[in-house]
């Protein structure tokens, strides 16, 4: 029955009747604390495995809970000495995305690269630069490694590593960056800017961001509890995810396997506060409505929302309010979970990783629960997923991202074309 309704939904959308205006996902690449690949991520998450662990060694004086990508995951590539850890994560995820698609390497030559991140190559720069930058850069190896600090370097590293010569740039919109790179890639594909775009995000753990979030008292020293009444902050993680995006016309022309359809996307801003979300979640609610308008969906069509769900007191209440507003009038509460409870908040990569997880859920028919959620926020319009994985057909699912500066991005993925 659900399958039939999905087919009806697909056929009424003009976006899907014009193959040049339908954006599809033909590859997904991931490097996460579970390892390399979507399969690895799926196995770990469906088993309910948390990668969050207590750590002391990330900088002197730091004690907290984080999720780290194991160094062995980064040993599969021959990296340039100019690559920062951010670059390395992005290169590994891109390789995985290219491998997961059935394109041969030459298909990617004219592709675009839109790579989100927030920290760039600051992973390679220590506090020694503060007193005398010129002396710091003159020390052996520093000029080369330090030159990776601009946020655009990640896109350049991916492009150069794989010999890709289409349009490339970095997107940096705090924690909404990864999702926004996918939304902007979709716009560019509709404009014909490139035949294929590799879009995603990459962000590593580093003293700069750990120190920043620590100074804001935003970190939960124990594993985070998104959407719980007793939540007390976020955990940072690291990783990268990259989607291979193209038009359905392009994918069909080479008989590519379609993993998912990007049915709708939207971007808004709260214009409320530099770090806090709008209390009522109005910016995110608007974003959800716009994405559903684009996809021409009704309130009941969405089967699951992969929430931003950081675990901070302000974010989770604002987000619950956004779902109440945006889905008011649904026949049943909207199922929502935060997968940051598995491997933390990966900042500029989070939206891309959560897009990959949403696609995984749609393809596997699996609604992942929020881990450690025992006493959820009161919200009559939301079904907080907790406990066991819920197995059911999931034709359409949404991924929501928000960030400092008030940016929101929502992506809607569908399971396929038949």
């Amino acid at each position: 029955m659900i399958g039939r309704r999905f087919f009806v939904t697909l056929s009424r959308s003009p976006l899907l009747t014009d193959t040049h205006k339908t954006i599809v996902v033909t590859g997904v690449g991931v490097v996460s604390p579970y390892g390399i690949g979507l399969g690895c991520l799926q196995t770990g998450m469906l088993a309910g495995k948390s990668c969050l662990t207590p750590t002391k060694d990330l900088y002197p004086g730091f004690e907290g809970t984080v999720a780290q990508v194991h160094d062995s995951a980064l040993q599969s590539e021959d990296f340039s000495t100019r690559y920062s850890r951010t670059d390395q994560l992005a290169v590994v995820a891109t390789r995985d995305a290219m491998t997961s698609s059935d394109c041969d390497r030459s298909s990617f030559r004219e592709s675009g690269v839109l790579m989100a991140n927030t920290v760039g190559g600051l992973t390679e720069i220590d506090t020694g630069i503060a007193k005398d930058p010129a002396a710091w850069f003159r020390r052996p190896g520093r000029l080369l490694r330090g030159s990776s600090f601009p946020i655009s370097h990640v896109a350049d590293a991916v492009g150069e590593h794989f010999g890709i010569r289409g349009p490339r740039c970095a997107i940096s919109v705090a924690c909404a960056s990864g999702a926004m790179s996918i939304a902007l890639a979709a716009n560019l594909l509709l404009d014909g800017a490139a035949p294929i775009i590799l879009a995603g995000g990459s962000d590593p753990l580093c003293p700069f961001t750990l120190s920043g979030f620590n100074s804001l008292r935003a970190l939960d020293p124990t594993p985070c509890r998104p959407f719980d009444q007793n939540r007390s902050g976020l955990n940072l993680g690291e990783g990268s995810a990259v989607l291979v995006l193209e038009t359905l016309a392009g994918a069909s022309a080479r008989n590519a396997k379609v993993l998912a359809v990007l049915r709708g996307w939207a971007m808004t801003n709260d214009a409320f506060h530099t770090t806090a979300p709008h209390k009522e979640g109005s910016g995110l609610a608007d974003c959800i409505k716009l994405s559903m308008e684009m996809a021409e969906l009704t309130l009941d069509d969405i089967g699951y929302v992969n929430a931003h769900g950081t675990g901070t007191p302000l974010n989770d209440v604002a987000e619950a309010n956004a779902y109440e507003i945006a889905f008011r009038g649904r026949k049943h509460p909207i199922p929502v979970s935060s997968t940051k409870s598995y491997f933390g908040h990966c900042l500029g990569a989070a939206g891309a990783l959560e897009a990959a997880i949403t696609i995984m859920g749609v393809r596997a028919g699996a609604l992942l629960p929020t881990l450690r959620l025992t006493d959820p926020i009161d919200s009559s319009g939301v079904e907080w997923l907790r406990g066991e994985v819920k197995r059911q057909p999931l034709p359409l699912a949404m991924s929501a991202s928000s960030g400092f500066g008030g940016s929101n991005t929502v992506l809607i993925f569908g399971s396929g074309l038949s």
Binding site: P167, S215, T274
Partner: protein, 363 residues
């Protein structure tokens, strides 16, 4: 213009640069680099720097305490561009106004300050008010917050073509109905660590180290003079612009922008010809950073597309010093320097055969 993709219109200009904070075109005068006194102790160093000014004296009510200079300039430039466009935001649906900001280095001033605080106090002793302001997207966020703009809010970065990229993304938002008005901003600020990086990498012009007169044309092999500043353009959908003219007949249009292209390699002339769809602009405005000079590949591509009699507006040293974010200043300075109209191409190239091109109709 590009076939099948309707152009959008540039209706407002604002800027903060060594010329000062300005609404509209930039009055032409010779610009000399400024001696750096704040942090150099190793001899004379020069750059095109923004002179300090009181933001609230330009934009009444503007509070900029604790902000990076880049955020402050973005706020001032966006306000001046909206003023120049004659847009009263109280009469506009602010959920339909987007911001697209281009930067190469982001809020590097407060990033440097954050490192200083970590060096002095350890990573556990950093300043919480500084951290959010180190994000590259902070200026765009502040512009949205100050003006109450609830449309898409985007920050892009590209070492060569961030400005062109922002123009392309902004026009795309309007064409896809995701915004009616977009404020496009591009710029960077100069700090000690960035200048030191340029210096150690041997990228600077000899003119940075002496007070000799500047060359008339740039020399692609002799480095560049670093610059700072932020330019802002207001872009509107054709329908909105037309309806606004009924209310405000004096509203000016500077140019229409078609769908541009940028790439990191390939065959620029072939891609640009395809983009132009058969039209042949006689005028090329150079953008890009550092390298494009009279003898550079940019000229060759311009001649290949428009013929040997193509009119070329050469780049200005100040705009070349903005690594990757100079495109908006290249365009504004070209519009300011001479009376030009008709079909044109904004064109930048990079040494590795990357390029960015936007079709324009100058009004």
């Amino acid at each position: 213009m590009t076939p099948n993709l309707p152009p959008v219109t540039i209706t407002g200009i604002g800027s903060v640069s060594p010329y000062g904070p300005l609404a509209g075109l930039i009055p032409q005068r010779a610009l000399e680099p400024t001696a750096i006194t704040a942090w150099t102790s190793v001899g004379p160093r020069r750059a095109f720097l923004v002179r300090p000014f009181r933001p609230a004296s330009v934009v009444p009510g503007l509070k900029t305490r604790r902000l990076d200079r880049l955020s402050t300039w973005a706020l001032v430039a966006s306000s001046l561009a909206l003023q120049n466009a004659g847009i009263d935001l109280s009469q506009v649906d602010k959920s339909r106004v987007a911001v697209v900001f281009a930067t190469a280095f982001g809020c590097i001033e407060l990033t440097e300050a954050f490192y200083l605080s970590a060096a002095a106090n350890g990573w556990n002793g950093t300043d919480p008010s500084t951290f959010p302001e180190t994000l590259a997207s902070a200026p765009a966020g502040h512009v949205a917050l100050f003006h109450g703009l609830r449309g898409p809010n985007i920050t892009v970065s590209d070492k060569h073509f961030a400005g062109e990229n922002a123009l392309i993304q902004a026009a795309s938002l309007i064409r896809h109905g995701q915004a009616d008005i977009t404020i496009v901003l591009a710029g960077d600020a100069m700090v000690q660590s960035l200048y030191s990086w340029y210096e150690v990498a041997d990228l600077l012009s000899p003119a940075c180290y002496n007070s000799d007169p500047l060359p008339d044309v740039c020399d692609s092999n002799a480095g560049f003079i670093p610059s700072e500043g932020v330019a802002a353009l207001v872009m509107e959908s054709p329908g909105r612009k037309a309806s606004r003219e009924n209310v405000r007949p004096g509203a000016r249009s500077y140019a229409r922008v078609g769908a541009g292209r940028w790439a990191s390699g390939g065959q620029p002339a072939e891609v640009i010809r395809q983009m132009l769809g058969g039209s042949v602009p006689r005028l090329t405005i150079f953008s890009g950073n550092g390298a494009p000079c009279a003898t550079s590949p940019t000229t060759a591509i311009a001649r290949e597309i428009s013929g040997d009699d193509a009119v070329i507006v050469s780049p200005q040293l100040f705009a070349q010093g903005l690594a990757g974010t100079g495109a908006l200043f290249h365009l504004i300075l070209a519009l300011s320097s001479q009376v030009i109209s008709g079909q044109a191409l904004l064109l930048g190239t990079a040494a590795d055969s990357g390029f960015a091109a936007l079709p324009l109709e100058l009004l």
